[in-house]
């Protein structure tokens, strides 16, 4: 299902645009339900080697034995795993003339933000891999990257073309039996991105993936595997959208990052799945497992802007295994209406002189619930480990909630850990100050929220920061009356 650039170009030239600009994309969807046959069928469809099929089946075996976790501070109707279709692919008929064709709504979203994907791609020099309804539809700039020895493709292509890399690293950070949703993902993942940066290479451009759920009644299970070899550097962006539907859609992704000795990975996410209607109907369930492994002197930095999804359940984590490795987590989570977010990070300090920083900003409005849940663990051999955590919450209106559940476990006497959290609201005097200077309340709030989130926004790559800032504004629209 993955295209090479050549194929894509050829197809574009020969194809008639019979489906028009706004028509739905006809897709090939598997019957609903999950069984061993479906897992095998997905694997077959992807023309995977046998080891991969076995790996999936193993995961499926674990999954069957697991129960859905309930400890998170979120309430929702549990998805019926037998009512979801586990594979949906856009038919070859309508590939991408330009990116705008792929998702008019995505385009609209960006129009609203004042940036078109296409434009962004060209101007900002970003290589994009688009994953729509589980299948990777286009990867751009592959050639330019290949010159540097960088592999950036869909994971199904990687399984075929670079089996040695995939075999070695897949499941090494997030094993199949890690948790309920990771096991499910390992069994049925249909596509995702794969990236390998060779030794000493500094990736010349931002790599980017866009996820999109298009088809109704499907779940999206993509898998991202990113390997930064010794002393390399990569900055990776991830964005997501979904159309508005009344039913809940499931998104259960797994992201594995491997930073070998001296490598640096910057992973930024702008998550804007459909958050459900004003009355709390519909929306995407976002249950994601993201984890990074840091070897000696490596650095991984997670930055996330979470504005979408009805229910978010996500903890991008860092295992600081190597000495002197660094983990960072910068997050803004905005919830409005009936959204619920339980998000945070885990910093596991194993190596000596490891350092971690956690900055989490939660903004809740409407009737939403926003939780920070984090773990800082200093193991007994992690001498001179250092952690700084700060979680601030901003409440708007008296029907929302903000919660913090930080777990701090120290087993080494040389550990230095700091944790602080505050909860506050937007001061009337702050609003008054703005109003007095001719700034309307809505704008004033956007201004204050921006200030509140600045520390995190600053960590985003330039072009994303602008986008995120506007996204914040949009998601809080109408939250203050």
């Amino acid at each position: 299902m993955a295209y090479t650039e050549e194929e894509l170009k050829k197809e574009l030239e020969t194809k008639e645009y019979e489906y028009g600009f706004y028509t739905d994309i006809e897709s090939e969807t598997f019957p609903i339900g999950l069984s061993e046959e479906i897992v095998i069928a997905i694997s077959k469809k992807k023309e995977e080697p046998e080891w991969m099929t076995l790996w999936r089946l193993e995961a499926f075996k674990y999954w069957k034995e697991m129960v859905e976790p309930e400890w998170a501070n979120v309430h929702y109707t549990k998805p019926d795993f037998q009512a979801i279709s586990y594979y949906s692919a856009p038919k070859k008929a309508d590939p991408n003339k330009t990116m705008d064709d792929v998702d008019p709504e995505l385009l609209e979203m960006y129009k609203k933000l004042g940036i078109s994907v296409d434009e962004q791609k060209k101007l900002q020099n970003v290589a994009v891999d688009i994953v729509m309804d589980s299948v990777s539809v286009a990867t751009t700039f592959k050639k330019t990257l290949a010159e540097k020895g960088i592999i950036f493709c869909s994971i199904s292509e990687a399984i075929k073309e670079h089996p040695e890399l995939v075999k070695k690293y897949i499941g090494s950070v997030v094993p199949q039996r890690d948790n309920f949703y990771a096991a499910l993902n390992s069994a049925v993942f249909s596509d995702g991105s794969f990236c390998y940066i060779p030794k000493g290479v500094r990736c010349p451009m931002e790599l980017s993936t866009y996820f999109r759920i298009n088809q109704a009644g499907t779940g999206q299970f993509e898998r991202t595997l990113l390997i930064a070899d010794e002393d390399s550097y990569v900055s990776y962006l991830e964005g997501c959208t979904a159309p508005s539907r009344d039913e809940n859609q499931l998104h259960a992704a797994v992201v594995e990052l491997i930073a070998l000795d001296g490598a640096e990975i910057k992973y930024s996410t702008v998550q804007n799945w459909y958050p459900g209607g004003k009355d709390g109907k519909g929306g995407v369930y976002n249950f994601v497992t993201k984890r990074a492994l840091c070897e000696k002197n490596a650095k991984v930095s997670w930055t996330q802007v979470e504005t979408g999804s009805a229910v978010t359940w996500k903890y991008p984590s860092c295992i600081l295994k190597g000495d002197n490795s660094i983990g960072e987590f910068y997050s803004i989570a905005v919830t409005n209406n009936y959204q619920q977010a339980d998000t945070g990070t885990k910093m596991i300090h194993i190596g000596k002189n490891t350092r971690s920083t956690i900055i989490s900003k939660g903004i809740s409005a409407g009737k939403s619930q926003n939780s920070y849940r984090g773990l800082v663990q200093i193991n007994s051999r992690a001498d001179n480990a250092r952690n700084f955590s700060q979680c601030d919450s901003l409440l708007m209106g008296n029907e929302c909630g903000a919660h913090t559940f930080p777990y701090i476990e120290a087993k080494n006497k040389s550990a230095m850990i700091e944790h602080e959290a505050t909860t506050s609201k937007i001061g009337e005097d702050q609003i008054f100050y703005c109003n007095q200077r001719g700034i309307p309340t809505e704008k004033a709030i956007a201004l204050i929220v921006n200030g509140f989130s600045k520390e995190v926004l600053n960590k985003l790559p330039m072009e994303f920061a602008v986008e995120a800032q506007k996204l914040l504004e949009i998601s809080l629209e109408g939250s203050v009356g």
Binding site: G401, F405, I408, S414, A415, E420, K425
Partner: protein, 427 residues
Amino acid sequence: MAFENNVDVEHPVHDVRTAAIKNFEEKGFPSKKEEAWKYTSLNSLQKIDFSIFPKEENTLEYKDVKRYFIHEIDSYKIVFIDGIYSSYLSETTHDGVDICLMSSALTKPMYKQIIDVYFNKIASKDESLTSLNTAFSREGAYIYIPKNKMPKKPIEILHFSTGNEASLMLQPRNLVVVEENAEVQIIERHQSLTKNEVLTNAVTEIYAAKSAIVDFYKIQNDAATASLIDNTYIDQKDKSVVKVHTFSFGGKLTRNNLNFYQNGEYIDSTMKGVTILGEKQHVDHHTLVHHIEPNCESHQDYKGIYGDSSTGVFNGKIIVDKLAQKTNAFQQNNNILISDKASINTKPQLEIFADDVKCSHGCTIGQLDEEAMFYLRSRGIPEKEARALLMYAFANNVLSSVRIPELKARINKLIAKKLGVNLGFDL
């Protein structure tokens, strides 16, 4: 553990006890799988065959146990030996205030009205260890302070275990009712006198009415074979001020469940603690402050110093209800690890449903400042003393709010002893 069946069926609170037994039988002892007991395991205690009701009465001479009292000052004393009231060592009163025994309060008709209103009302009916206490407790302190009254002197509650019987499980039950505008100071201490295993599962209910002031001090400096599970439930009404200080230096396993419920406005709740541990000791502080109504404050300040293979847990939970606007909740937990084998797990938790609030928590784990050490040592203070001095300073915030000077001096001595130094002056 076998529970003997000599429960008094004719007892006035028999129904309450039956319900409690049922709840405990359903739930059993909490296991590590429960979120609230994630870091504290009761397995080692459950292996011991404790006897619940001592078979014989034991006596003690005052001179042998004098050092466990704050003997420098005059005080009311309620003393229990192996869970049984010792009239010989106690000094109770009915002069204007009631400072007496739970057993008599539960059976005598004159107390019925108060027992009906307060007994087992704020204590959790869901929590299994509290239920265990409700079911099997026979004795404890009963303190009733009427409107506008204040007892002339502080009250000391002491529980001694003699260890004359092999392993003992104690279930003391205290009830403290402080009426409008009244005030009381209470010091509570559990002390094991031998090397036999003791498990104390205590429940204390405190009711502070409008503008009442309650100072409660818990001294936990027991023998290395004694374990304590302390469940304290506090109900506060408008403008009341309740302060609970917990000093944990001794014991094998100590678990403090301290729960504040603010059922009124302009309430002030303070909980402070100093924990200094060594060897294989384990202390778990579990605090809950439930802000139910507007304009209230809560302050928490817990300091911990952990040496040897000791483990410490702090789990502070603040809930702010939707109605509780203008809440000001502050929580701080600072820890120092002085040994490689010691560990600390802390979980400061906020659950906030109101928007116009000021809530913050801070938590640190660190070491003594090397530069401060150097400063002291360069002025001729030996390393051990310098270290102790810095630890004193670290804990001093908590000590400064102790309102009984003799108690403060006593705690200073306990800290000095625990740190193994004599500074020759009080701080």
